[in-house]
Amino acid sequence: MLTRRHILQRAGAGFGALALRSLLASDGLLAEDAAGSPLLARPPHFAPRARAAIFLFMYGGPSHVDLFDEKPALAQWHGKAIPVWKDSDAFMGSKTKNVAMASPYRFARHGESGISISETYPKLARQVDKLCVIRSMHAESNNHGPALFQMNSGSILAGRPCMGSWVNYGLGSESDDLPGFVVLLDHQGAPVNGAMNWSNGFMPAAFQGVPFRSSGEPIAYLTPPKSVTTARQRSRLDLLKDWNTRYAAEHPAESDLAARIESYELAFRMQMSASECTDLSREPDHVQRLYGLDDKVTAHFGKNCLLARRMVERGVRFVQVYSGGNEGPKAWDAHDDLKKNHDLHCAETDGPIAALLEDLDARGLLDTTLVIWGGEFGRSPVAENGKGRDHHPKGFSMWMAGGGIQGGVTHGATDEFGYDAIEARVSVPDLHATILHQLGLDHKRLTYRFSNRDYRLTDVSGNVLHELLT
């Protein structure tokens, strides 16, 4: 029989020191174990293929038929009604007509795998052999708010824990000094739903995602006032911890009080580690250039991608990087002018994403880091307002890379118009089940009891996409 230690050793590169924490914890050798810290590392259900995930969230709904799902039929039917479209598919009822719209972009095959990608993602195209492109995603809502909720928490409604919360609940944190679930926002701001997109739902608050600021201090008030030395601060915090522990013991049902204790200890360590982690000047010039930090179009998203890599290196389990914020054209929500919108957002993200894959690979981290790309839904094959595209959840594309996922493959297909996922359909719970699986968690066993019921990220469905795993 395999011991946990064997399993962890077999799990591959990058594990070493970080896994030790998990081992010690599970053997009861860490002091915090007694305190029952919710973020304590816990052993996975089975040998994980990835120890971290980076979700590149293209908020607003990137257009599958203009990026990863080439549809020559749309050019043939351009300007004409397509037989599959129903008026009720439109989100913007009056503006979206059943008039097919050809992609304004050319597609070409790339890499050894020959996967077809549009010209908007030239640098990413060179990394195509690392990608597993899923062309048969489907989701349940055609509006941003509920669709974001579904992609993040499995439910189209607010109030469920998000994926990053589930992962940290299942595995604990590998980092002593950074949050286990970090959110990096676009410079345009947060997506709709705001912080509900990284909510812990009914789980203890310690599993909430922590957003890092996009400019200035990465986290507000990361550094103490000048008069407060580290030693002075530590002595304050030692007394505070005593007091707060006692107070929490008087109110055993309040998980918030325990979370507060945890939050101070983490905050203390974050002061050093977050500053070190977010100090991109420590990266050599060529790395900064690789991520496009020297170009104002790519600098912002590039910085966040580079940050994501640095966080993963430091044991953060789940990093979500948003492209697009706020609403409308500031996100991938190309209602009015698809080309203008996607030209911009692809230009912002192409180089940085390619850099992230290349860099992770070069460092041997791609094997243990699952990278996920996608939005809350795709876009309509028919035109909105002549040259835009409407929301479309019935069929769209996402891709995964690294973390034990096969590269250079595609999975599933939409119909000839990119309207409906028809072949090897992948639901959001299927995707979630697969992500959890790669991280060593069985989505059916990962349950959280709330109000006398066991909840799952995948609720009552979800199938791991075994055929995509290495």
Binding site: F91, M92, G93, S94, S141, N143, P146, A147, F149, I156, L157, A158, G159, R160, N193, G194, A195, M196, S199, G201, F202, Q208, V210, S215, G216, E217, I219, A220, Y221, P224, P225, S227, V228, A231, R232, S235, R236, L237, L239, L240, D242, W243, N244, Y247, P252, A253, E254, D256, L257, A259, S263, Y264, A267, F268, F450, S451, R453, D459, V460, S461
Partner: protein, 756 residues
């Protein structure tokens, strides 16, 4: 964003308001499951009974069910979804078919969705044929539609005259007033007992925070603890209710609902230099305990009320608080019409959620999927506001050269009024698009809420307004309105007990939560009506109750039965809201400047965080002084740059009406309380204050610091521990710095941040 169980549902409600998805209005699955689970077997039994007894179905559809649908379900579904297996906690053999019951309707909707999506039956089972699937889903769709037209939902029923549950021998020991009888009756049903009264220090802290949002002074605590009179508690309540700080505290709750801010949001985030007058109006209204009918009428129709004046014009700022982008939404007639529709949508959505607890915003693009509200209802409501225009300064107005336009100094308010009785015709806008004209509608209130259409006056041509909004306001606050008084009573309850009787306080519709104490809620609503819509008598009834005075102490046995304390077997522990936290730090350090009213203040924000501040720049403040140390309700609310302390401790984002604040716990809050210069400075002031107020020995000084911050001197061993801490810190620096360290720990302690 960022929610305990109650607020999860709220956020759902918020989304429902915002979105136009076909799936928005589904009852949250976990809520449905909660219902099933919380009541366990009892609920299932009810379902069985319902299924057996429930017969008032139109015969044709019942026939369809029996002949067509039931056999299909039996063939394909029931083998897993029966009493034996109950997969997914669903029993299809006995699922009730009362579609006016939101929970049941939601479960059926789910069944239809699963079948439609091909998720059920599962892969390893034979699929339904297309004909079978259609038969089932069509039947469900039809029932859902007919269920919608129902007025059966509890909140649409008239407020009932509830009889107070009788006393049982022995109840006298605990029961203090009628509120307790309602609460005790529910506790008894569940096999629970209430908690004993909290100690006096806990009580006076609790009630002082609740009513004025500040901690009690050590003198106030001592006076109450020493007052043996049976009237002591009542005297404290009366004192606090007549404090001018009551309005600052309770006005803030209203400002959350009214999405109050001092800037416009959107890209330019322009200043609203007169918005604060609305904030002050709200505070004044609470302090004078303005009758609710007047309060509502002034905010919706300040130009149409009797004795309309500056004050009532300012009140209509309620309708102008939402985000706006006046000079930047396009110049075409279509764009202007659409923008106006969007602005009015904010007014209607806010009005209906705040006053009626209805998420009618959903009906902007399509009929409401859960509540019996139609697009027609929505646009009829819009017709009521369709004659309005903005009055007073449009904030930051600039001419095309970017120069500030000279503002008429006479009109320094922000109002929404009518200038003529002629209201342009109102049309349904299909899918919410202004250019997409549907049928014309007359002003009306939602049909489901009235037995006959509300009559709107026919004004003369030369009247100054149509009186439509006044008519709406009067209808909202008429004693017959089934929603308004329940919604208001629930909000008052919510802020005293930490959670509403309906824990979706702005959604009393079918998708909202069911009340935990429906009879009590109606009883409270009647109290409000009987008191002429004044809140202070209601506060007093709640605060005088034994229910309110319970200890918050955990009890294992009770927690096993009711873990989330739905039935109030104890008081809820509550964290101070962002404003109260900051105000408490200032109050205890002795630096709080109690000056009320006037333009918003801009306290120090770290300079590096000011990059988000665009046009109306937040000043760089090196050192704060007493002009910054005013109560937090007076902080300038800039939509693009909320005060970090407010934002991190879950103050509302002001984008939407906020009826429940989240209580998030994140390390960034700890960072702020550890590192913000504000906390550091105030800790120093607290230390200095204690030194100046106490005898010159360390024990007295430390004890004083505890009294000031947490209202009690700790047990001797803990006091000794604190003194030892100061002594050991003193060896590193000096006494003042060492005491500052202790003060800082106090400001960060859970005991300081939580109200027991």
């Amino acid at each position: 964003m960022n929610d305990a169980a109650g607020s999860q549902i709220i956020s759902f409600d918020k989304i429902a308001v915002r979105s136009a998805t076909e799936r928005t209005a589904t009852v949250p699955r976990h809520v449905r499951h909660q219902l099933v689970d919380a009541r366990g077997k009892l609920f299932r039994l009810t379902v069985v009974l319902l299924a057996c007894l429930w017969m008032p179905f139109a015969n044709a559809t019942e026939d369809t069910f029996e002949k067509t649908v039931a056999p299909i379900l039996k063939r394909h579904c029931v083998s897993c979804h029966d009493a034996r297996k109950e997969e997914g906690e669903l029993r299809l053999d006995t699922l009730g078919r009362d579609f006016s019951n939101g929970q049941l309707a939601g479960r059926w909707r789910d069944v239809a969705d699963r079948i439609r999506l091909g998720e059920m039956p599962p892969e390893d089972q034979p699929k339904l044929s297309a004909v079978e699937a259609k038969a089932v889903t069509d039947w469900i769709a039809k029932q859902l539609e007919s269920g919608l037209s129902s007025r059966a939902h509890w909140a649409f029923q008239p407020v009932k005259k509830e009889f107070v549950p009788p006393l049982v021998p022995g109840d006298d020991d605990w029961v203090r007033n009628d509120v307790d009888r309602f609460v005790l009756a529910k506790l008894r049903e569940a096999g629970l007992t209430p908690s004993a009264e909290a100690d006096p220090v806990t009580l006076i802290r609790r009630v002082t925070f609740d009513l004025i949002g500040l901690p009690p002074t050590p003198d106030e605590v001592a006076a109450f603890v020493c007052d043996d009179s049976p009237l002591a508690w009542e005297r404290v309540i009366d004192r606090l209710l007549s404090s001018p700080h009551y309005g600052e505290r309770w006005g803030r709750h209203w400002l959350d609902l009214a999405q109050y801010a001092d800037s416009s949001g959107f890209h330019n985030d322009l200043d609203r230099p007169h918005a604060w007058k609305y904030r002050d109006y709200v505070i004044r209204s609470f302090n004078t305990d303005k009758p609710y009918a007047r309060f509502v009428a002034e905010q919706l129709a300040g130009d149409e009320v009797d004795g309309a004046d500056d004050e009532s014009f300012i009140a209509t700022g309620f309708c102008r608080n939402g985000p706006s982008n006046d000079d930047n939404m396009g110049k075409t007639p279509e764009a202007i019409a659409q923008y106006r529709a969007d602005q009015l949508d904010n007014v209607i959505t806010t009005t209906s959620t705040v006053f009626l607890g209805l998420t009618i915003g959903c009906a902007r693009c399509h009929n409401h999927k859960m509540d019996p509200l139609t697009s027609r209802d929505y646009y009829s409501l819009l017709a009521i506001f369709n004659g309005t225009q903005k009055h007073g300064l449009v904030p930051g107005t600039e001419d095309t050269n970017g120069k500030k336009v000279e503002v008429d100094p006479a009109v320094q308010i922000q109002a929404l009024v009518e200038r003529s009785s002629k209201v342009p015709p109102t049309f349904v806008m299909r899918r919410g698009i202004a250019a997409n004209k549907g049928e014309e509608v007359d002003p009306a209130v939602p049909a489901v809420l009235v037995t006959e259409p509300l009559k709107f006056p026919q004004p003369d041509a030369d009247d100054k307004s149509s009186l439509r909004r006044r008519t709406l306001a009067d209808w909202i606050t008429s004693p017959e309105n089934p929603l308004a008084w329940r919604v208001l009573a629930n909000r008052v309850w919510q802020h005293h007990f930490g959670k509403g009787i309906v824990d979706t306080p702005s959604n009393f519709g079918v998708s909202g939560s069911a009340p935990t104490h429906p009879e009590l809620l109606d009883w409270l609503a009647r109290q409000l009506i009987a008191n002429g819509g004044r809140l202070k008598p209601l506060h007093k009834v709640l605060l005088m109750s034994a229910t309110y005075r319970q200890s918050s102490q955990h009890r294992d046995a009770a927690a096993k039965i009711d873990p989330s304390n739905q039935l109030l077997w104890r008081m809820n522990l509550r964290r101070l809201e962002a404003e109260v936290l900051r105000d408490s730090i200032l109050a205890t350090s002795g630096k709080l400047n109690l000056k009320g009213g006037g333009p918003g203040i801009k306290p120090r924000i770290r300079a590096e965080l000011l990059t988000a501040s665009q046009r109306n720049k937040w000043p760089i403040v090196e050192t704060e002084n007493e002009q910054h140390w005013r109560r937090s309700v007076y902080i300038y609310s800039k939509r693009q740059l909320l005060m970090p302390m407010m934002e991190l401790f879950d103050a509302p984002t002001t984008t939407d009406s906020c009826s429940v604040r989240l209580v998030s716990i994140v390390p960034t809050q700890a960072l702020l309380l550890m590192n913000d210069e504000f906390v550091e400075d105030q800790a120093g002031f607290l230390a200095a204050r204690a030194i100046s107020e106490a005898d010159d020995n360390l024990q007295c000084i430390v004890a004083r610091m505890f009294e000031l911050t947490v209202s009690r001197v700790p047990q001797p061993d803990r006091l000794r521990e604190a003194i030892e801490f100061v002594k050991s810190r003193q060896t590193q620096s000096n006494r003042a710095a060492a005491l500052t360290d202790l003060a800082h720990v106090l400001f960060n302690s859970s005991e300081f941040l939580y109200v027991k």
